[in-house]
């Protein structure tokens, strides 16, 4: 339940009062860590207040306007926000699809089959065998001759690229400059 907020007429521009019922007052306290004396409280006190519902009737709340998130938006604003969210999702899906296509274009049929079955594929360098699992971090396994995981490596592009692009980058690095990849990666040896 979202409380309504009105500016405190006598306030200094950064103070609001809740006009909602108990749920809203409890939420206010939890969200702002304030009590009826408008003093900042520790997180645990705020949690206690929230869980026990022990909040006074009119709780002054100090908000830093820079962090204030309006809880009531006009239908037009809500619609625009929903549309923006839909577009972001669509962009993400397109990026993931492009990355998947590029990765698969660089894999052998065997590796593509591995990817389909176990969401991972195996590559062999001159010295070692690796399994690259879907993901971004700690997704590279070093395997021994019997296929057992002997170490986990974590290294990925600095930018937050789609996971399939991360896997491609890891494969290219391991195939062409394994030593450098291992120098950069955080390596956890499995005992």
């Amino acid at each position: 339940m979202c409380p309504t907020y009105t500016a405190d007429p006598g306030g200094t521009g950064g103070t609001y009062r809740s006009s909602a019922g108990t749920a809203g007052r409890t939420w206010n306290t939890w969200a702002t860590h304030n009590d009826s004396t408008a003093s900042a409280h520790s997180t645990s006190a705020a949690w206690t207040a929230w869980s026990e519902g022990t909040v006074s009737n009119a709780t002054p709340i100090n908000y830093d306007p820079a962090y204030y998130i309006p809880v009531h938006q006009t239908p037009k604003q809500l619609e625009a926000a929903a549309e923006a969210s839909r577009q972001r999702k669509e962009k993400r899906e397109q990026a993931n699809a492009r990355a998947e296509e590029l990765l698969r274009s660089m894999l052998t049929q065997e590796q593509q089959d591995q990817l389909n079955i176990m969401s991972a594929f195996i590559i062999e360098t001159e010295l070692r065998k690796y399994r690259i699992r879907r993901g971004r971090s700690t997704n590279v396994d070093e395997l021994d001759g019997s296929g057992k995981v002997v170490a986990r490596l974590c290294a990925h592009p600095r930018e937050g690229v789609p996971n399939a692009d991360t896997m491609l980058a890891q494969m290219l690095m391991l195939q062409t400059d394994e030593a450098e990849f291992r120098r950069i990666a955080n390596i956890s040896v499995i005992r």
Binding site: A95, N96, S105, R158, L168, T176, I184
Partner: protein, 74 residues
């Protein structure tokens, strides 16, 4: 037609060029130089499964170049 795929946050960006078209070659080379200066690594690749090779200088005759952002430990 040759292509360069630059991995990025919103998926990869594709840059294509015809080796006989010097304007396209220049534009592709400018992109290559700009990104490699920022730490991107470039790999020249061919068919699927073939091991790529690191390239530090733009090759207009390359079939496909993939540029990856700097790699960091996680």
């Amino acid at each position: 037609m040759s292509e360069m795929r630059v991995l990025g946050k919103e998926g990869d960006t594709k840059v294509t060029w015809d080796a006989d078209n010097w304007e396209e070659v220049e534009a592709a080379e400018a992109t290559f130089d700009r990104l490699t200066k920022k730490g991107y690594r470039a790999f020249s690749v061919k068919k699927s499964g073939d091991k790529g090779s690191i390239v530090t200088k733009f090759d207009p005759e390359a079939e496909k170049i993939i540029l990856i952002p700097p790699i960091v430990g996680g």
